[in-house]
Symmetry: C2
Subunit: 366 residues, 2 copies
């Protein structure tokens, strides 16, 4: 009889993974005495704040879904509401600005819940002393981005705070959308066998903003990928209909955070293949030099879609046919377990756990 503590290597590994998964399944607790930057970073501290403080207090069915937009049903009409405040620093960066993010970000949160936008609101916090020309530029940018997305701004608000009580400007946008009749997505609908489609290379937005701060002497040209994602969702719905189980834009916290959230919400495991992730060589180089994992870097124009295997090839072909989405790729699959655990088959042949982000490597990225 072999002693019980000596397990075979494969069994031992399974035990470790199951222990990690069990730890993950515990309810989130918020026990910090003060708010820190990590609470806004989209990783573990954000999850503890949202699930440990906001959810128990507000306790609504829509919030419990942990979707990117809250559902509101009125007279059989399926509506969705999404809200986000943008505090990106600097206000302008290659490829975009706070104004483009404020429109794309909120409309994309509607899009990934399958909702076409009906209306948008914008609420500004302006710092005393902000140059009027900067505000004018951002307002024009927002108006153009909204027009391009076919949505009107229907309500707004402006507050001004004293010098030093904001950082130029913050913008909160809220989008009202109507869930498309073809859409039946939910963060809880992931099923073993689902294929994971990613629309393009990771990390462009986060690295573009980081380099625009000029804190690193890195001579790389990277532009944010900020863009509307409705065309991608529309194509996925057309190709896969109800077989599109979930979609999520990989913003703050990056793809790593998104996969963790959905694996936990659906009680499934996820395996991603590193070699299949579309890569931008400049971003990859910058990440390596800066010691940042691109899996956790924010994107503003990429989504991950979870499609049942019988429609995955058609969905991928539909995605690639959209201008700007030719780099879309099948990057992994949903597995039965351990529930909540995300793993990556690395380019070197090993397999590693993709954990929730701890801390905030890139504050104020959106």
């Amino acid at each position: 009889m072999s002693p019980p503590e000596v397990a075979a290597p494969a069994a031992r590994e399974r035990l470790v993974l199951e222990r990690i998964a069990a730890r993950r399944a515990r309810p989130a607790l918020f026990r910090d005495a003060r708010i820190g930057l990590a609470h806004g970073a989209g990783g573990k501290a954000s999850r503890d704040l949202v699930e440990g403080l906001f959810l128990p207090a507000f306790d609504s069915e829509a919030l419990r879904q942990l979707d990117d937009a809250g559902r509101v049903h009125v007279d059989g009409l399926r509506l969705a509401l999404s809200t986000d405040t943008f505090v990106v620093r600097p206000l302008q960066f290659p490829g975009g600005s706070i104004g483009t993010l404020a429109v794309h970000g909120t409309l994309n949160d509607l899009a990934v819940t399958g909702a076409r936008p009906l209306a948008l609101t914008a609420s500004f916090v302006l710092e005393e002393g902000l140059e009027a020309a900067v505000l004018e530029t951002e307002v024009s940018t927002m108006a153009a981005a909204a027009r391009a997305a076919g949505v009107e701004l229907v309500a707004g608000d402006t507050k001004v705070v004293e010098r030093g009580r904001a950082d130029g400007m913050y913008v909160c946008t809220t989008g009202l959308g109507r869930v498309d009749r073809r859409a039946h997505t939910s963060p809880r609908r992931l099923e073993p066998g689902d294929r994971i489609l990613l629309t393009g290379p990771l990390g462009r937005h986060g690295i573009a903003v980081l380099l625009a701060r000029g804190e690193f002497e890195l001579d790389a040209e990277v532009a944010s990928d900020t863009r509307p994602l409705w065309p991608a969702v529309d194509a996925l719905l057309e190709a896969a209909g109800g077989r599109l189980h979930a979609a999520r834009d990989a913003t703050r916290g990056g793809l790593g955070s998104v996969l963790n959230e959905l694996a936990t919400a659906s009680g499934v495991g996820i395996v991603v293949r590193e070699r299949d992730l579309p890569a931008d060589p400049v971003v990859a180089g910058a990440c390596e030099i800066l010691g940042i994992d691109p899996l956790y870097v924010a994107n503003e124009g990429q989504l991950a879609a979870f499609v049942a295997p019988d429609r995955a090839d058609a969905a991928l072909a539909a995605l690639r046919a959209i201008p700007g989405f030719s780099e879309a790729a099948d990057v992994g699959e949903v597995v039965a377990g351990p529930p909540g655990l995300v793993q990556m088959d690395t380019a070197f042949g090993g397999r590693r756990v993709v954990d929730l982000l701890v801390g905030d490597p890139l504050p104020r990225i959106c």
Copy 2:
């Protein structure tokens, strides 16, 4: 023949008033080089910013209505969206806090457009270092206020900015509402003869916040009047139906600003009777000592309603029958002109122009 420049006193006065009205009717221009506190105060600078910059850029029919909430029509359903960011300083004050304002303020903007709330969203900007206990208190307060108003929070967002880049916390709330079938209000529906009903005494909120800052050595106890206004709107609609021409909560900029906005939007004149304005003696005393006109002080639980004369008495009786609204009063009327001009019959027997607020006597009041 008398020389043309010598007019009779009454005619001369009319000329002056008409000149003021004509100046008001000019399109607003935004020509400032930098944002100042006055741009957020709800007076003349705010109007120039909104009508001179935001409206031309966003150019939507809903925004052009200049209503407190934007209308969105979907499949015959009349929806309304309202958004506001709250930056009040200090976060807590007698009678309320940023949390109560964030819920009441946005729901009241829906209410005065005749809309019952369907859903609420909240987006937080937190300053690094904020005490978790403060956040917990405000979140509980918001949850309780939303529950009391019968509405659920369906979506949220949290951003954290570095120390010194905010002031504790800012909250943006957006409300989605459904316009009541009885409601046909608009800032453009004021008609000569309409009576003006006010729900209660002016200035409690603004003075409560001002005193809570402790900058004045004034030993007065004043509590904010923050409260939901839907019960008042419901009673007005029941009593007056479509004869309720408009309603507006007298928040930032006070009753003086509201009357100016509506007189301009409807192209009518307004005359208010100072002696009929319900007054809080402590607030009146504080205003006198501080040299502030209560007409421009913010309220968070008072509205002005414009009711056709045949339903005005019934509407006033209905208002007074609601608990907490017994001080409601008939305070003035809509007159043919000069268009856009608000005048007040003073307690001393004279008549003066109630102009748009210039500058910001009370920054960050909501």
